[in-house]
């Protein structure tokens, strides 16, 4: 009963308050914060890494980083953004380590603007579930670029830097990704 009461009180605390308690070693606070964001970290990691096993591994590492850095966490009510940044960077590091973000195309061309608009309009009309299933069938580089564009909405310049590719290459990756998505959604086939 006392445990339930404690858990109930902790659930009312803000993310920053929970991180503060985690920095003092509170396991119950960690469990509450973990319950709050576990599915988000796992879902994002799965989309980035393209598999549940790797996503679970990444999720463990991310939560370990949260606890390790709890004492130095700068609380400004931005825990979720910080958590997602940690998750994104960790996933990008895993992809780089596994050499899965290699862009090998020799000819890099940016798509014509009217094509880009049509592709974006098509993606906007998709439900997240359809998009999620279709993204799983894309090659790593295209899936990562489109996942990051859909969730974190970075500028193309920032995303190109994060992925370690040129701006032209990124535009080409995104263009190909969107074309592939369209094909998958129309035919259901993997690219």
């Amino acid at each position: 009963m006392l445990k339930n009461l404690k858990s109930g009180l902790l659930k009312k605390k803000t993310d920053d308050e929970l991180v503060k308690l985690i920095s003092e070693g509170s396991e119950s606070s960690f469990q509450v914060l973990f319950e709050r964001y576990a599915s988000l970290v796992l879902g994002f990691s799965k989309k980035m890494l393209g598999g549940l096993d790797k996503a679970e591994e990444a999720s463990q590492e991310v939560w370990l980083k949260v606890v390790k850095n709890a004492q130095s966490y700068d609380s400004r009510g931005q825990f979720k953004s910080w958590l997602m940044r940690v998750t994104k960077n960790h996933c990008l590091n895993v992809l780089r380590k596994d050499s899965r973000l290699v862009f090998t195309d020799k000819l890099v061309e940016a798509p014509p603007e009217n094509t880009k608009d049509a592709e974006e309009a098509m993606l906007l009309n998709l439900s997240m579930r359809d998009l999620s299933e279709a993204l799983d069938k894309l090659p790593d580089t295209q899936r990562v670029a489109l996942t990051l564009l859909a969730t974190t909405e970075p500028s193309y310049e920032d995303l190109a830097e994060e992925m370690g590719v040129s701006l032209g290459a990124l535009k080409s990756i995104v263009h190909r990704g969107r074309k592939s998505l369209k094909l998958i959604l129309e035919t259901g086939a993997a690219v």
Partner: protein, 110 residues
């Protein structure tokens, strides 16, 4: 609350347990390194304060210095001839009398 622009995956019980087990040792480290709730009490500060208090006390009431003065006085008195010592003792008595009130002198002379 779920956001429409995010991907979610419900974690399995085994994943939850794995994460909790992974972070346990790190939580313990946090607990050990967290500042104590009684952080305002510091042994170092207490030691410095005690030392400073003793220093001030000995500056005002230096028993070593008083002992040294007494010791010098005894040596000097011992080195005096008996007649000289008598004079000194009388002088001290006169000085003692000076410090007494007339009433007190009357009382001891009666």
């Amino acid at each position: 609350m779920k956001n429409e622009n995010e991907f979610y995956e419900t974690p399995t019980e085994s994943h939850k347990k794995a994460v909790i087990n992974t972070v346990k040792s790190e939580l313990k480290k946090n607990k050990d390194s967290a500042p104590s709730k009684y952080a305002f009490f510091s042994w170092q500060t207490a030691a410095v304060t005690a030392f400073a208090s003793l220093f001030v006390y000995f500056q005002l009431n230096n028993p070593l210095q008083i002992d040294e003065m007494n010791s010098n006085l005894i040596t000097e008195l011992a080195s005096l001839k008996p007649i000289e010592r008598e004079v000194i003792e009388e002088l001290e008595f006169v000085e003692f009398l000076d410090q007494m009130s007339e009433q007190e002198i009357k009382e001891i002379t009666l």
